[in-house]
Amino acid sequence: MKREKFLEKIKDILQYKGDKDLTYNSNLIDLDEWDSLSIISTVAFLDSEFGKKVTVSDLQNIDTIEDLARIAGV
């Protein structure tokens, strides 16, 4: 998966409708949309699309979208 597509998928998982553009450096902790439902969906996304087995607690303290991309290997 290309990086642009990865970012689009994360935006969709977050249902992000904020004013600022989301980038790979966007801090997830600062986003209201990075809630428990988004974290669970991200766990499933990393597993189904990239075969990466992470737990919800692995993602609870993650900082940026770049960190997610690193887990995915994108």
């Binding site: 998982i13 249902q15 809630d35 428990s36 439902l37 988004s38 974290i39 669970i40 969906s41 766990v43 499933a44 597993d47 737990t55 919800v56 607690s57 993602l59 609870q60």
Partner: protein
């Protein structure tokens, strides 16, 4: 009371009226629910009426410190299926607390009430919750103008929740 690793589930009490209203009157959290007025007396009366019913279950989800963090309801008990709803969680709860609260309510329906299937509806624009339920094995079986109608069997749910529970 049902006890889990991250949360407990207990029956609602009139003392929970203010907490329930804090969730139900939160504009963001309740945007997919019926509108509720912030009226403590009316909420207490609602809980008292509920307490007299024997075909509904209204739960408070508490964290392990005993602090209420969510609400959940089982109602519309049919021959072979129960309905879930009124699921609201406080902001800032962890994914583990959310997942386990949901798990304990479904477990109550499947194990204690002996159902093998559940049904519920979700507003069509509530995309995060729709995605969540599909991840948990639910299937769309119909729709109205506003809602998707879902069904989920015990077997499908247990198969899908396994990957998330630690």
């Amino acid at each position: 009371m049902l006890s889990g690793k991250f949360v407990n589930l207990r029956d609602i009490e009139t003392k929970d009226a203010k907490f329930v209203l804090s969730l139900r009157c939160d504009e963001k959290k309740s945007r997919y629910l019926h509108k509720t007025e912030f009226d403590i007396k009316a909420q207490i009366a609602y809980i008292e009426r509920y307490k007299k019913l024997d075909n509904e279950y209204y739960f408070i989800i508490e964290n392990k410190s005993g602090e209420p963090i969510g609400t959940y309801r089982i109602y519309d008990l049919r021959k072979d299926s129960f309905c879930i709803g009124s699921w609201l969680m406080k902001g800032g709860v962890s994914s583990e607390e959310m997942l386990e609260g949901d798990y304990l309510v479904r477990k109550f329906g499947f194990d204690n009430l002996k159902f093998n299937k559940m049904h519920f509806d979700v507003r069509k624009d509530n995309k995060k919750v729709i995605r969540y339920h599909k991840m948990m094995g639910a299937k769309v079986i119909g729709e109205t103008e506003l809602d998707y109608l879902f069904e989920c069997t015990k077997e499908d749910y247990l198969k899908h929740i396994k990957r998330f529970l630690v």
